[in-house]
Symmetry: C2
Subunit: 203 residues, 2 copies
Amino acid sequence: MGLKERRERQKESLRQEILDAARDLFVNEGYENVSMRRIAEKIEYSPTTIYLYFQDKSELLFNICEETFARLSNRLEEITKEGDDPIYCLKRGLHAYVEFGLQYPNHYKVTFLNHPTQSVDKERYLQEGAMGMNAYNHLRLGVERCVEANLFRETNIDLLSQSLWAAAHGVTAILITKCNFPWADKEKMISLVIDNLVEGLRA
Amino acid sequence: MGLKERRERQKESLRQEILDAARDLFVNEGYENVSMRRIAEKIEYSPTTIYLYFQDKSELLFNICEETFARLSNRLEEITKEGDDPIYCLKRGLHAYVEFGLQYPNHYKVTFLNHPTQSVDKERYLQEGAMGMNAYNHLRLGVERCVEANLFRETNIDLLSQSLWAAAHGVTAILITKCNFPWADKEKMISLVIDNLVEGLRA
DNA sequence: GTAGTATGCTTAACGGCGTTAAGTGAATTC
DNA sequence: GAATTCACTTAACGCCGTTAAGCATACTAC
């Protein structure tokens, strides 16, 4: 009687198909520019079918963000695991953060550039926060190691982490939202901000 | 025969009324959450009337952004006119930028945190660029003075200006959009980012 | 003074959107 | 073989930005 299981697998398969279609469209064309009808068309089902698998459009995005942020966390974890010079490690982590944002601008936009007023439901909002916190804690760990090794003048770990995050976010956000601005050199700019700030903090 | 003139004045007056209503709504509820019908309702005209004064919704936003940029430019101009120590001046300008954003968070959101400029018509795209350029040039001037006084290691003025802008934008944007985050110390964070970056650039 | 025109605004509509209510036909259960 | 469940669809609601067409009023020209 593996019948129920087969059906379960089939349902899961369609769920994944929807998610794949949504991710492809969101990432390539931007969340706002993709309609539920377009996603439905892509998977060759009626639009309402999507609502049998997901609560609404934003839940699609949420699931995709989750995947993507897990990937960011993994990337940051690898870097922190390497156990190199803490400051080098920290810089690498910040660079990875910016690169991640530029690689998935639509995910980044939704998670870090949205207005706090457009609140979804309570539970999902908290999950979203936890998702961000997870990534923040990797950064915090990198900073902690620098502070513990007495490499920094300033010793307030949260103040340091938040400042570095803010700076990295600034480069990421501005490159994403003002992608038509005649930037002198994006790569050099990223390095200038991150490296100067980290170096400037040395004891 | 001041008749034509009176009509001109009346037209201009309604145009301003539309702009005021749009600004108020955009700033309080966000561009995406405000419909043309809502703006029309506020001014007690039919929605189509707006289209007799503005090409489309994004042109409303464009005009509002222009105002905000102008206000920021004025503030920055005052600071650069003071002619103090170039580095002190630059820091003050950057601080003023962040303060401006925090003082008018909704204007800042509308102007700097909105859509990645999927430019509509050519002319407006160029104007939009020029608008940003005007504010940017004040910052650039401040940087230029530092470079000309041989105070900085890096001498690429645009690279420097853009990096500083990115960092200042980062602090501003993150404090605005993540206002519920448990920040260690907002003021110290602003100073840490700006001052460390500028100091870190010294020759 | 009246016919004709321009002006300023409105009503009605188009084609889209996210989402929901109601149904349908096949598979499963009893 | 009837009843029920399941996976999905069709039709619709009430929004949206935007456009076409119409309609009074004010102005112009004869």
